[in-house]
Point group: C2
Chain length 456, copies 2
């Protein structure tokens, strides 16, 4: 069967292949394992290592370590990369690093602890080590960490023919490049030419005459989230990176920007849910508990605030015990409406569709939406309260509490992330807890307060 799978047309990762690999590992059959792994893309090998258990992974690495290359290490998720590197013989890691360009080495290095970092740094040539250390001198999550230092440049006065001859004579070129960057004598980038234009123009054409309007540069210290935004907003394919003096120090390509965009989204989603930023299904039980428990702890504290509010109305609940059953409806509707408006606001802040220019309009819009939804559910639940319990005043209390809570929810959902953003914090971080605490407290207080006033 291993033979069949190795020969099969289907070269992606599916559960049949994963099972076959695990069988080969269990049988310690390294020939079969090599056959099964051979057709896999490095990204699929990385996924496979993430999906299997820790013991199986270590057994697989022991049998197959010779085949681990730099590309696989750079595809592996941060959650297990350190374990994998420590499980491999140092000479395998050293060999793997030598294949990689410096930006990939930096990407691997920055998430590792000291001992694993030392293994990798010592494996590099001194020139590469210097380049890596220079990249690490830029702030974390900056353009400087993301860029590759290998650039293809030409003086602005060259012709197409000069550029082609230069490229043909080059000993070495980056794996990926999409522009020839035109630089002035002080290495300041002034324009760029796409490879398509270069190829389709006659040799005597001057590079200056076929440059692109889309040209712009990024500063090395710019946050990587801004890099992703600029690529997505202006449809860039690659972008030169400059130092504070405006000199070219590297280039960022769209695949790196796409990766950052993907991670930023993940971060927003996980932060909204109150999970550690880099939570992953490959994390172990302890790492997962460590990521989630602090948020649950905060939630416990805020839930106790709501409980305290309720205890203030114990006399009312004793008198009309059905209130205890109805009050979670008001809180839950508020929590949901708040989460809706919060999610739209966090997303709009990330895409810069929500700015100080339209904040007031969006807040007004949310207030209207809260009132309309509040009115609708006030009527529905008010009717339920009236008809089911035969008590019109009870229906009125539910209805009024819902209008109040859905209005507060809608406003808080947009005001909380806007305020966090203005304070320089991440609008996604902890805003879910803020908003639902508020809607719980307001929901219980409005409902029980109105009930005390109108029903007792």
């Amino acid at each position: 069967m291993a033979q069949d799978m190795a020969d099969s047309e289907e070269d992606g990762l599916d559960s049949r292949r994963v099972s076959a690999v695990l069988e080969a590992v269990a049988a310690r059959d390294s020939a079969r394992l090599t056959l099964l792994m051979a057709p896999l893309h490095p990204a699929d090998v990385a996924d496979l290592l993430e999906q299997i258990g820790t013991e199986e992974r270590n057994d697989l690495l022991a049998l197959w370590s010779g085949e681990i290359d730099g590309e696989i290490l750079s595809e592996i998720s941060d959650a297990i990369r350190e374990d994998v590197i420590e499980a491999l013989p140092p000479e395998v890691v050293a060999e793997a690093m030598r294949d990689l360009e410096t930006d990939d080495v930096v990407d691997i290095l920055e998430d590792l602890e000291e001992p694993a970092q030392a293994i990798i740094l010592s494996a590099l040539t001194s020139a590469d080590r210097a380049a890596v250390e220079r990249a690490l001198s830029y702030p974390e999550y900056s353009a400087g960490r993301l860029m590759q230092r290998e650039v293809v440049v030409a003086p602005a006065h060259w012709t197409v023919g000069d550029a082609i001859d230069h490229l043909r004579d080059a000993d070495w070129l980056p794996d990926q490049f999409y522009h020839v960057i035109l630089v002035d004598p002080r290495m300041k980038p002034v324009a760029y030419v796409t490879l398509g234009r270069l190829l389709s123009s006659r040799r005597e054409v001057r590079l200056q005459d076929i440059t692109e309007d889309s040209f712009r540069t990024l500063e090395a210290t710019e946050p990587e989230a801004d890099v992703a935004y600029v690529f997505n907003q202006y449809h860039l394919i690659s972008c030169p990176v400059v130092d504070e003096a405006g000199r070219l120090v590297g280039v960022i390509t769209i695949d790196d920007a796409m990766n950052v965009l993907d991670e930023e989204h993940e971060e927003d989603m996980l932060r909204l849910a109150g999970v550690g930023d880099d939570a992953s299904v490959s994390d172990g039980v302890l790492a997962t508990v460590k990521g989630r428990l602090p948020w649950l702890f905060i939630n416990m504290l805020t839930a106790n605030i709501s409980a305290f509010v309720i205890t203030r109305f114990e006399a009312t609940i004793s008198a009309v015990v059905v209130l205890a059953a109805l009050m979670p409806i008001v809180a839950s509707m508020g929590g949901n409406a708040g989460t809706q408006s919060l999610t739209v606001a966090v997303r709009a802040l990330a895409t810069r569709d929500l700015t100080s220019s339209n904040a007031l309009r969006v807040v007004r819009r949310e207030a209207m939406v809260g009132l309309v939804n509040g009115a609708f559910f006030a009527v529905v639940m008010g009717m339920v309260g009236w008809l089911v319990f035969g008590w019109a005043a009870l229906g009125l209390v539910i209805g009024m509490a819902l209008v109040i809570n859905l209005l507060v929810a809608a406003l808080a959902g947009v005001a909380v992330p806007l305020t966090l953003e203005r304070l320089g914090a991440d609008p996604a971080l902890a805003s879910g807890t803020f908003v639902t605490t508020l809607t719980d407290v307001v929901g219980f207080f409005a409902f029980l307060g109105l009930a005390t006033w109108m029903l007792i």
Copy 2:
């Protein structure tokens, strides 16, 4: 001041520029408006149109309609594109469409209603109209809709020199292309060559000898979510698209894939929050209510189930009224823990890190996490119950209910999206409501049930 702004270095969109534009619109000063708008990138013009109010937008368009081009229309969000197109004179729309490549026209067209579609189709040349109609014959959200039909191909036996001469002689080339695709005599793509390799190789080198290992093709009917996954997973920059017979019909480039990735993320995030898929801060009040009310309605129904559970325990609550204050804590902790595990699972399904190969391991891991967190909060809240209310049995009830609910939350958080995925539904859709309904019902039932058994 408008003069200053128009001349200023800063050419992006900031709130000062937005205010200046709005002033010029209010003063009906079209010369000043044109000066202010001139330095803006089409993507920034689109953002500006999205951020201002409907009336201001219509006034701006009336003053500035001559300058609206196809790129601006293709950048504008779906929420307002229809309004903008209908506000413009048909000849402006027609002119704008003529600048665009067919994939951009298709992208604009597919979200419009009939009358706006008709305006655009009639503006195209008959060749372009045929190409657009052919693209629209592919399923919505498929690779066929996403691809550009303009491709750069070469027979496999050509040399680098042949390819360069062909490119230099071409009347017309796509704006963006990153590979020359090698095709067999029946137009089946067999390999590709990057432009970088083409430029750096001597004229006599055969194309066949400088092809890339990364070559793969996509079928035109493949869903666009899979296209985005393949680009992100395998770091593609462009990818040929084939019909069912394997013949080349177009090419997809990474910027389109990045766009899809962005939209898929947005969809997951909005669906998890129970907001319509395409909610945006530019939506009006009615559109927003229409997107959110149905989800709140479902939440109202499920909240009534919880309320019904509570009414079954009215006698218990009457006897020990503090239970009414404590029960929301158990429900809220469960809801939060469920959302944490749900969010991680939905994200892992989207990135294909959670598959049938590791589902069992992930479920087991979640169960352990639920038990560990449950035990921790059982001890903390148990102590609170005991010390604050001086009643050990009450502490025990809270603790046991928390362990049960956090275990259920962790399991439901991963089981619900896995089940939806297996049934062919979107794992993000409505799973939040399922999970929190479950944790509310289980939380109230466990807490009040245990209280009835142990405290009364």
